[in-house]
Amino acid sequence: MVPLHYYLLVSAVVFAIGVIGVLIRRNLIVILMSVELMLNAVNLTFIAFSRFLGSMEGQVAVFFVMAVAAAEAVIGLAIIISGFRHRQSLDPQEMQLLKW
């Protein structure tokens, strides 16, 4: 059996890759996909802890994270569509209506 901290290492690396994606990409859809990647890295730690501590709470938490991630993806993509309609661009730098 693979020890627990191997799983934690893999999910830390995937989470850091997701953070890089959010920080350096200039495309709103790719930024949203990087957020999904980070959520999945966290889900992996939940499942690994649930397995190694022998409790089902981790799997239930992953269930709720999935529900919230689905809602987040739907709302985020709807905001991207309505923003694209006004600006014809997916660049987050051009979303500056509220900038003072």
Partner: protein, 164 residues
């Protein structure tokens, strides 16, 4: 090294490669395809960690529903303009994220974690146990999640509707 360790190494290498592809590929559709691959690999991880039900949810909800939604939006918007280069912020973001990874990795590799899992009964991770836990201890969060999904549906329709 036994077979499960080999499977773990192969899967984690593939997962890291596909995650890098999600972030660094230029074409948005290629990014989405790489993300589908990464989500499938995470589903395999779930199954090897005795969470088959959650693995099924992962394939159905993430790789199925959410990624189809992403691909539909990519198809509708058809983003053809090329991304501008980042400049200073590109380097700053990379350094910040590498710092985060560099802090997390030694912290986690030094930890004396449980080498062997505590229990591994036949029933652990089965739909039965998941449902028992979900509908006994977590009924209220479950109902709140259903309300949240309803709000998300209404909100998406209102936001994406064409103004007249």
């Amino acid at each position: 090294m036994n077979a499960s360790t080999w499977i773990f190494y192969i899967l984690s290498t593939l997962l890291i490669i596909t995650s890098l592809m999600v972030v660094f590929l230029r074409n948005v559709v290629h990014c989405a395809m790489a993300l589908v691959a990464a989500l499938f690999i995470i589903a395999v991880f779930f199954v090897t960690l005795q969470a088959p039900m959650v693995g099924v949810f992962q394939v159905l909800i993430y790789a199925g529903a959410i990624m189809v939604l992403f691909l539909f939006v990519i198809m509708l918007l058809n983003p053809t303009t090329r991304e501008r280069g980042g400049g200073v912020w590109w380097n700053f973001g990379t350094v910040l994220a590498l710092l985060l990874g560099g802090l997390l990795v030694p912290l986690l590799s030094n930890s004396e974690s449980a080498r062997d899992p505590l229990v591994s009964t036949e029933l652990f991770g089965s739909p039965e146990m998941l449902a028992k836990s979900l509908f006994n201890d977590f009924v209220l969060p479950f109902e709140i999640a259903s309300v949240l999904l309803l709000v998300a549906i209404v909100g998406a329709v209102v936001l994406a509707k064409r103004e007249r």
